[in-house]
């Protein structure tokens, strides 16, 4: 269920990064303030435990397929929200770097979907409410089960929204939701069963571990609800502002560059390297309808970044150019891609050769 770079637009990815980074900064501060330096190694090894646990499978009854623990909720129950959030985030960082699960930009989304949601939304609003102040095994089990299911409905829903707002995938909202939610209901139930099994094992074997976590109150902090609210507002603000810019200036990077360089219109400027390249381009463009401005058009149409309206407007934009000129552009484009790829790999090969010779 990892969100991936390939499906993200910079606006959505950036906004989620900002939110997750904020939550990490906030939790780090909290954990430091708690002054419980036992937690330093504990969080570390529990993160590693999650890795080990995810590698051990079990057979799902009556299906023959196998499943494993996700663990976000389990960690939150054991460590409390702040420490658990940091631990889950750290696991996701390692997964992104070593197992190519998602990617670096998508980390923001993944940390939010799999860390923020269980730790700061599901745990305080559902789990804690049900368990109350005197945990019994039955209450604990019911709360855990329900939290696992809700957490695994919210997480994938986050993925759906992030994908849709990014506009790289063409999946319609309803299809996507129908695709994701039922599967994750099943996954949520399994996660719930496994988490309940582990939690009740710990509850029996070393009750003090669970009691310690359940009784822990953040010292001098505002209630978790406010924190959640703040972050959600921040997320919507960040997402809104960025996508507003993105929709006004279809190409985020170009917009950023014009902002940075102070040039109103990069394409119009005929100075420097960029201008020289444009000139070269014009000089070399012999195919009748080929022009740089034309090629910028699909870019514009394809960057809705949260603007679904734009999405609908797209096909007309494409049809306009659906004529002979299109052939010229696409042939040269594809041919050029191939050449560039070959060149790139040749370059690498030569560099390597040289490296070995030296």
């Amino acid at each position: 269920m990892h969100m991936a770079d390939a499906l993200l637009s910079p606006a959505v990815g950036g906004a989620m990064w900002a939110v997750s980074a904020g939550a990490i900064a906030f939790s780090s501060q909290k954990v430091r303030k708690e002054l419980d330096d036992r937690k330093v190694p504990l969080m570390g090894v529990l993160g590693a435990f999650l890795f080990a646990a995810q590698m051990i499978n079990f057979t799902i009854p009556a299906t023959g397929s196998s499943g494993h623990l996700g663990g976000g909720l389990l960690l939150t129950i054991l460590l409390g929200p702040h420490a658990a959030f940091l631990t889950i985030a750290s696991v996701l960082v390692v997964q992104a770097l070593f197992f190519a699960d998602g990617g670096l930009l998508a980390l923001g989304c993944n940390i939010f979907n799999m860390g923020f949601i269980p730790a700061f939304i599901v745990y305080p609003l559902i789990h804690k409410r049900i368990v109350g102040n005197e945990p019994s095994q039955a209450r604990l089990a019911a709360a855990t089960m329900l939290s696992a299911i809700i957490g695994l409905q919210l997480g994938p829903f986050g993925v759906v929204l992030e994908t849709l707002f990014s506009g790289i995938s063409s999946l319609p909202f309803s299809t996507f939701v129908l695709l994701m939610q039922p599967i994750h209901l099943a996954i949520g139930i399994i996660e719930g069963v496994v988490t309940v099994a582990v939690v009740s094992f710990v509850f029996k074997a070393r009750p003090e571990i669970l009691k310690g976590a359940l009784e822990a109150r953040p010292i001098g902090g505002q209630p978790v609800r406010n924190v959640v609210l703040t972050f959600l507002v921040a997320a919507f603000l960040a997402g809104g502002v960025v996508s507003w810019y993105a929709s006004k200036n279809p190409d985020g990077l170009e917009w950023a560059i014009t902002k940075v360089t102070g040039k109103a219109d990069l394409e119009g400027s005929k100075q420097g390297l960029h201008g020289a390249l444009a000139a070269l381009q014009e000089a070399t463009a012999f195919l009748p309808d080929y022009s740089f401005k034309k090629s910028a058009e699909p870019k514009e149409a394809a960057m809705p970044a949260g603007e679904l309206k734009k999405d609908q407007a797209r096909p007309q934009g494409e049809q306009k150019k659906d004529d002979g000129s299109k052939l010229g552009t696409s042939v040269s484009g594809l041919l050029g891609s191939l050449m560039v790829l070959v060149l790139a790999f040749l370059c690498g090969f030569l560099l390597k050769k040289r490296g070995q010779a030296v």
């Binding site: 390939a6 570390g44 646990a53 770097l97 999946l171 080929y290 560039v340 790139a344």
Partner: protein, 270 residues
């Protein structure tokens, strides 16, 4: 994950690559992290139908693999295991988006296929640079760089600890899984009944280990503060590396070099 030992070996291999001794390996990790981020943002910022403009970006991973002396086949193999989620979502594009965008004589290619190909290309690019970053820098150095770039220390410490004990605990988990497998006589996986206690045991052992580590930390004067050494210097080479690649990415991002190349080629052709 296929088999625990296999996944672990793979992990260790990638980790081992970071011990390489090339000029790129010796660069300040901050430079590499920043260049990687710039690269990813540049690639991601392409619109969904842009495929050809992305091709020149392969120059970066290829050059890094070559200069960093990384095993190319290994990296390619890892990229091939594309994230299944990406494939699943991407494969719907040709179904839902049937507008013909490109015409090759009689064959029309729909926008869906182009965007699908574009998703694959994005995936290959972003995944490869993440792997290459690890292979050229090593995880602890990346953590160090991120901390210097403003990541809170508590989180940096958490990452370092996690990384250190992944190897210890996955070994422990693998031993338990093996013991279970040897006694389950061909039944694949195992039932829920044994799974909970198995993980529970692993968890309790993990917990005691944390207590022992804490003990070891205290006996060596730990007071909650971590002291890290400053091994790297952000010098001229780093500035050059960062600015050079950023310029290349900006150039490639703003100009469709494939298009340019192709046009040039067609023109030269009689």
């Amino acid at each position: 994950m296929p088999s625990i030992e296999g996944a672990l070996l793979d992990f260790k291999r990638l980790d081992q690559l970071a011990t390489g001794d090339t000029a790129i390996h010796h660069l300040d990790p901050r430079a590499k992290v920043l260049v990687t981020l710039v690269f990813i943002v540049s690639v991601i910022s392409f619109g969904r139908y842009e495929l050809t403009a992305m091709a020149p970006f392969f120059i970066f991973p290829v050059v890094m693999v070559a200069l960093g002396n990384l095993p190319p086949l290994y990296i390619v193999k890892k990229i091939m295991l594309l994230c299944p989620f990406v494939l699943m979502v991407g494969v719907f594009n040709p179904i839902f988006d049937r507008t013909i965008l490109v015409q090759f004589g009689p064959i029309g290619i729909s926008g869906g296929w182009i965007s699908f190909a574009s998703i694959i290309a994005r995936s290959a690019l972003t995944v490869s640079v993440a792997l290459i970053l690890v292979g050229l820098t090593g995880f602890p150095a990346i953590c160090w760089a991120l901390e210097r770039l403003g990541m809170p220390q508590a989180f940096a410490v958490q990452l370092v600890f996690l990384y250190r004990y992944i190897f210890v605990l996955t070994d422990e988990g693998a031993r338990m899984a093996r013991a279970r497998e040897l006694r389950s006589f061909g039944v694949k996986g195992l039932g829920m009944k044994a799974y909970g206690p198995l993980l529970g045991h692993l968890l309790l052992r993990t917990w005691s280990r944390a207590e022992r580590i804490h003990m070891a930390m205290l006996t060596r004067g730990f007071t909650g503060e971590f002291h890290t050494r400053n091994e790297f210097r952000f010098g001229k080479r780093e500035i050059l590396f960062l600015l050079g690649w950023t310029a290349v990415f900006a150039l490639l991002r703003l100009n469709n070099c494939s298009q340019l190349c192709g046009a040039l080629f067609i023109r030269i052709l009689p």
